[in-house]
């Protein structure tokens, strides 16, 4: 049922604004892929292109071996869940879900009893049994989202496309639905692409994440891949908090302020570079050959984490340090920081 989606060198302009500038992406059958990026990065345009709601200026999208440029919207058979759900306000839940089946040409249309059964099954699948007579205005946000999903699944789509599926929901409902969607995908196995600007959502939910910026894909990979080995500074910054340290690379060591701070480098790119270090990869240590001396200037609590802001001599911006131990340093205390992991990018 589910097919591979191949996106080949897509280019798309709106007026004078280039929305997509040569995007290619291979999606395996049954895979759950997130398109992640800031607003204006082209992620929604890419999703609408896969759906056939936009036309590419150049490049093409394949479903399996089929070039989708030859397919009508109906023939594409995609399930699209819109950001605001776009439920039909004048129809009840059952009619909304049955809409796609009833829209089929007469010879392919199931009979009324069959449609009723399918609606009932789908309502059970999305855990809303008994709500078939309600109107969309009588549903909560989370329920609407599930109805929209059931409506999209009703046509047995080859590809499921979700535009900011949790964007309009409050934080608690988001978390619940996320886990539920992951589980639903495991059960139904549709090739699924969803758009989000929330990196946490993308990393948690997707098999692979494609990070878009300015109309281009910066990196594609599993959550671990992109988080631990970001290909570009943009990916590194977009996926989570990060400290930037201007360093100079000599041999296998990185130097800050003529002091070695990180060793064992394998990338042999000598000269000026930027070292990106996440707060959890900075540790306060007693003594070590590779260490950054600094002063604790501020202490914060961020949910379960405690964080210190440490001023480093010769660096304007204070470094964020996640505190691993229960013993917090005092404000004003001199500490030494060791970098346990960092990503090095050539200085721009």
């Amino acid at each position: 049922m589910s097919v591979a989606v191949t996106i080949e060198a897509i280019e798309k302009r709106f007026e004078n604004f280039p929305a997509l500038r040569g995007v290619s992406l291979d999606i395996q059958p049954g895979e759950l892929v997130a398109l992640l990026g800031p607003s204006g990065s082209g992620k929604t345009t890419l999703l609408r292109l896969i759906a056939g709601l936009e036309e590419a200026d150049r490049g093409r999208v394949l479903f399996g071996e089929t070039d989708t440029r030859d397919l009508s919207l109906r023939e594409r058979r995609i399930g699209f869940v819109f950001q605001q759900y776009a439920l039909f306000k004048t129809m009840n839940v059952a009619d909304n879900i049955a809409f796609g089946l009833r829209s089929r040409p007469r010879d392919a249309r199931p009979d009324a009893a069959e449609i009723r059964k399918r609606v009932k099954d789908l309502l059970e699948l999305v855990q809303l049994p008994g709500l078939d007579k309600r109107y969309p205005s009588q549903l909560s946000g989370g329920q609407r989202q599930r109805v929209a999903l059931a409506r999209a699944l009703a046509i047995e789509p080859r590809v499921l496309l979700l535009d900011e599926p949790f964007g309009a929901l409050d934080a608690k409902v988001r978390k619940d639905l996320r886990a539920w969607l992951r589980e639903l995908h495991g059960r139904t196995g549709h090739t699924t692409v969803f758009v989000t600007h929330d990196q946490e959502e993308a990393l948690e939910l997707a098999d692979r994440v494609a990070i878009l910026n300015d109309g281009r894909i910066e990196q594609v990979g599993s959550a671990d891949d992109v988080y631990d080995h970001p290909a570009t500074p943009f990916v590194c910054e977009f996926l989570g908090e990060v400290n930037k340290l201007p360093v100079k690379v000599v041999g296998s060591q990185a130097f800050f302020d003529n002091r070695p701070v990180l060793g064992g480098l394998t990338q042999n790119q000598g000269g000026a570079a930027a070292l990106y270090v996440r707060p959890q990869h900075l540790r306060i240590v007693d003594e070590t050959p590779l260490a950054l001396p600094g002063t604790v200037e501020h202490l914060r609590r961020n949910g379960p984490l405690r964080r210190a802001e440490v001023a480093i001599d010769g660096l304007k911006k204070r470094l964020d340090v996640d505190l691993a131990s229960q013993v917090a340093p005092a404000i004003g205390e001199r500490v030494k920081l060791r970098i346990t992991h960092g990503n090095l990018f050539a200085a721009a």
């Binding site: 699209f80 819109f82 039909f88 306000k89 796609g100 829209s103 109107y135 409506r151």
Partner: protein, 295 residues
């Protein structure tokens, strides 16, 4: 020290808000009274006068006035003109609203201004334009005459003038509503495999049905009541090109006041029916209207 001063500081403040509330109530009363008085003298009183005058000579005279052949012809003609002009304007109005709300194209703002044109042009001018175009001395006059087509001083002219004057009603009701709805519902229907026509019938039209109905109601009321433009192209041939408003004027000019008011009461009745329908619509379907306007 500060404890002692607090209550005295708070008390005048409370008195202030009390006075403010009293004053706002007075303003409210004055505004309501002014509005009511205005409605009474300028809207309700004239309307009541029509019915009072129409009934002044008793039921028999009233019946005679509205069943007289010329009056019946006028009623028939008015209904015929409305029956053609209103559906026409409904269809074109939906098309124009659809184009403006769902598509981006060059000249869109010009189109929006054009839709409003009939409201800003005096109906008399609208009538004159058609005489100038299709009249005996008009641009197409000789050609039309040669082919035996009569537009001015005949039914086609009346319909043209009515269509012109009443065009904006449906489109203007629909455009803001359709714009606020966006295209997501239609896109959803299309991705679910519906044909464009089915999408229009089952999604677009139901979404805007109350605005549409309201627009048609207003369009119809104006189509039946239009005087200026129709007066110019009609030629006022009794029993042939006289619509109800024209008939009322002729009767009145011939000092047949009661008859004029009798026919006028039919027109006024139409206005009341429109008003009642609109109110009923809002009462019964207020929730549905609100729901379909949400999102």
């Amino acid at each position: 020290m500060s404890d002692a001063t607090l209550p005295t500081a708070a008390a005048p403040a409370r008195r202030e808000t009390g006075r403010a509330r009293r004053e706002s109530r007075r303003v409210q009363f004055v505004l309501i009274a002014v509005s009511l008085a205005f409605l009474l003298f300028f809207l309700l009183l004239p309307l009541a006068t029509v019915f009072v005058e129409a009934a002044a000579r008793g039921w028999e005279a009233y019946r005679a006035a509205i069943t007289e052949p010329d009056a019946l012809a006028a009623v028939r003609l008015t209904l015929l003109v409305a029956a053609i002009a209103v559906p026409f304007n409904t269809i074109v109005g939906i098309a124009a609203a659809w184009a403006i709300a769902k598509f981006e194209f060059r000249g869109k703002n010009l189109l929006i201004s054009l839709i409003d044109l009939p409201f800003s042009v005096s109906p008399v001018i609208a009538g004159l334009v058609f005489v100038l175009l299709f009249g005996a001395q008009g641009y197409f006059g000789s050609w039309l005459q040669a082919h035996g087509v009569k537009i001015v001083f005949a039914l086609p002219g009346l319909i043209l003038a009515t269509v012109f004057v009443t065009f904006p009603f449906v489109a203007r009701e629909l455009i803001p509503h359709m714009q606020s709805l966006g295209s997501a519902d239609e896109e959803a229907a299309l991705t679910l495999g519906a044909s464009p026509w089915r999408t229009f019938l089952t999604v677009t039209l139901p979404n805007v049905k109350w605005s549409l109905f309201y627009g048609i109601l207003l369009c119809n009321a104006r189509a039946m009541g239009e005087f200026g433009a129709v007066a110019v192209v009609s030629g006022k041939i009794r029993g042939e090109t006289n619509t109800m408003p024209l008939h009322v004027e002729i009767l009145y000019n011939e000092y047949m006041g009661p008859a004029a008011f009798a026919v006028a009461s039919l027109l006024a009745g139409l206005a009341l029916v429109t008003l009642v329908l609109k109110t009923l619509l809002e009462w019964h379907y207020g929730d549905a209207i609100a729901a379909s306007r949400r999102h």
